[in-house]
């Protein structure tokens, strides 16, 4: 398993969150998650302008084995969905922390502080505990 990027925050449900320069958050699924799902054949991302609650199902990732929802770790308004994934779902497999981002979000006031996000080290412990 590849090393976890230190600049990202993580959730127990295997999403990652990157804070961009303008304060917008970029969200995706971790390398561990994509590996567990297997080759993705379809990704559905939310539309820009949609407001989401923390814990709400926002995206769908479908592999040859299963289809899973991806949950919003933080409440806010979606500023962009990664529409490129509708043509290239495999980007989530090959570059989970880069080209495989799912959506960008402008967090609701206070939502980022309220979210229980983990550091790379803490997330690594979760993976170790899961046997990953």
């Amino acid at each position: 398993m590849s090393k976890l990027p230190e600049d990202l925050k993580y959730t127990k449900s295997h999403e990652w969150v990157r804070t961009l320069a303008d304060g917008t958050l970029e969200i995706g699924i971790t390398d561990h998650a994509q590996h567990a799902l297997g080759d993705l054949v379809f990704v559905e991302v939310p539309d820009a302008g949609r407001s989401v609650q923390a814990g709400e199902a926002c995206a769908v990732v479908e592999s040859v084995k299963a289809a899973s929802d991806v949950y919003a770790p933080i409440a806010g308004e979606v500023t962009a969905g990664n529409v490129r994934l509708s043509q290239e779902p495999e980007a989530v497999n090959t570059d989970a922390y880069g080209a495989g981002w799912l959506w960008r979000l402008k967090p609701a006031p206070g939502a980022l502080a309220a979210a229980a996000l983990m550091s790379a080290a803490d997330y690594q412990q979760v993976l170790d505990a899961e046997g990953g």
Partner: protein, 457 residues
């Protein structure tokens, strides 16, 4: 012997577990007025011989009427081979088999069905069939709401010239899911939807436009202009089509500049007999770009581990057993037996056979309308071309006329008084390739006779 496996002790134990004191309490949400307290109107049991006799008597009471009723179910010639093959043991199943891939023959047949339906409609992908045309239209409306992510309103434009029962089924099966159907009137003179009527919805957020071709009155809608109008405003187009008509008419995949997005229809005309209203089957197709929103089963062709071609259920992540509550639909099987009959029918008829059936049905209907509208007191309700059905208007109420014709052995058409009161004394008639010139003459003569006495009086 009662076929109920529970003993009184079982029932008591189950009620205790649920926390209900009696069976009545368990069912207390069923209103009193809906409950039947005795079965006194149910007659005594009959033995097999008595039931056989009763059924033959009832069948004789129906008689063998010369049929001119269409209205969504059509009498066509069915080659004898269709049901001789369909009822073979190997095919005799109502559903997709549970261990689907173990039944390669059934999967191949479904794959052939999908291919034929996709070619007939000019669409990119077809599923393995639906319950009937009406439920397929309801599923198409739900699918359009999922597929058209630009529209938030879940509002579907539906002309009142779409089959009234289809509209009722669509409303009943979607209203708890927040869909709104906006009904659009047809032109009083021509019986079709006009761009001027649509223009009233220019500014509304609408998700999709439903177009039935031919429409319930048998009239041909201007599908190209309607499709382009809807697409220019970000709506999806749902075509509801008669499969036989596609032997003559432009398929929905070619409507307008881009073609319809979803096309559905009733499959009964393809080899399924008229049998007291069913069972029938629906077909459903779409563009490939929307395939993940398409409900139902889809069979794909693939290669097995040894590199040999085989058939498999595919794109199952849309379906209930994988996606649970977020599945595209609760449809998780198909109308296997009827779809089998349709596949065999289409393979026997071929494209030329379907085209000839369509052309012959169209010609017979034109002859029929021409014959009948030459009678005094009978006129065409709408100007403009029809496929194999037409609305006539009589100079008096239709019901007594139909009754008199039934007494002469003829089912002359469908009385529209209840469904379209604004059309006055309107009668929907249909003639398919099964009707001979002598049959048309027989109806003309009988109608002339029935209309005669009142005119003399």
């Amino acid at each position: 012997m009662a076929f109920i496996p529970h003993t009184p002790a079982d029932v008591t134990a189950m009620l205790a577990a649920i926390g209900a004191s009696s069976l009545d309490e368990l069912f207390d949400e069923i209103p009193q007025e809906l409950r039947i307290h005795s079965l006194e109107r149910i007659p005594e049991a009959l033995n097999e011989m008595q039931v056989g006799r009763l059924m033959s008597e009832r069948a004789l009471a129906d008689g063998l009427l010369l049929n001119f009723i269409g209205a969504g179910a059509y009498e066509h010639h069915i080659p004898a081979a269709v049901w001789a093959i369909t009822t073979r043991g190997e095919f005799y199943s109502a559903y997709t088999p549970y261990q689907a891939e173990a039944s390669q023959g059934t999967l191949q047949l479904i794959y052939e069905f999908q291919t034929m339906i996709a070619r007939l409609t000019g669409m990119e992908v077809a599923n393995a069939s639906m319950y009937d045309g009406a439920s397929a239209m309801a599923e198409a409306a739900l699918m359009a709401v999922r597929a058209n992510r630009k529209s938030k309103a879940a509002r579907i434009l539906v002309p009142t010239s779409v089959h009234p029962y289809y509209r009722r089924v669509a409303l009943a099966s979607t209203h708890n899911q927040g869909l709104k159907f906006e009904e659009l009137p047809y032109g009083a003179a021509d019986g079709v939807l006009s761009l001027a009527t649509l223009a009233r919805h220019e500014a509304d957020d609408c998700t999709a436009l439903i177009i039935q071709q031919p429409n319930f009155f048998g009239r041909l809608e201007d599908v190209d202009a309607l499709t382009d109008w809807a697409h220019a405003r970000g709506m999806l187009v749902i075509g509801v089509v008669n499969p036989t008509s596609l032997g003559l008419l432009k398929p929905p995949g070619q409507w307008g500049a881009q073609g319809a997005d979803i096309a559905v229809g009733e499959g009964q005309p393809l080899g399924v007999p008229l049998s007291s209203g069913g069972p029938y089957f629906g077909f459903m197709t779409s563009r490939m770009e929307h395939v993940r929103q398409l409900p139902g089963r889809i069979v794909g062709r693939t290669l097995d581990a040894a590199g040999k071609p085989g058939f498999t259920l595919t794109l199952q992540a849309r379906e209930q057993h994988i996606r649970r509550a977020k599945a595209t639909s609760n449809i998780c099987t198909n109308q296997g037996l009827l779809m089998t009959a349709a596949t065999i029918y289409l393979s026997l008829m071929g494209p030329q056979g379907v085209a000839r059936t369509a052309a012959m049905s169209h010609a017979r209907t034109r002859e029929l309308v021409d014959l009948l509208t030459h009678l005094p007191g009978v006129r065409s309700a709408f100007a403009g071309p029809v496929f194999h059905e037409a609305v006539l208007q009589l100079d008096r109420p239709v019901a007594p006329v139909l009754k008199a014709l039934a007494a002469r052995g003829i089912a002359a058409g469908l009385d529209l008084a209840g469904l379209y009161p604004e059309l006055g004394h309107a009668l929907l008639v249909c003639a398919t390739e099964t009707k001979t010139q002598a049959d048309l003459e027989r109806l003309r003569g009988a109608l002339a006779e029935v209309l005669q006495p009142a005119r003399a009086a």
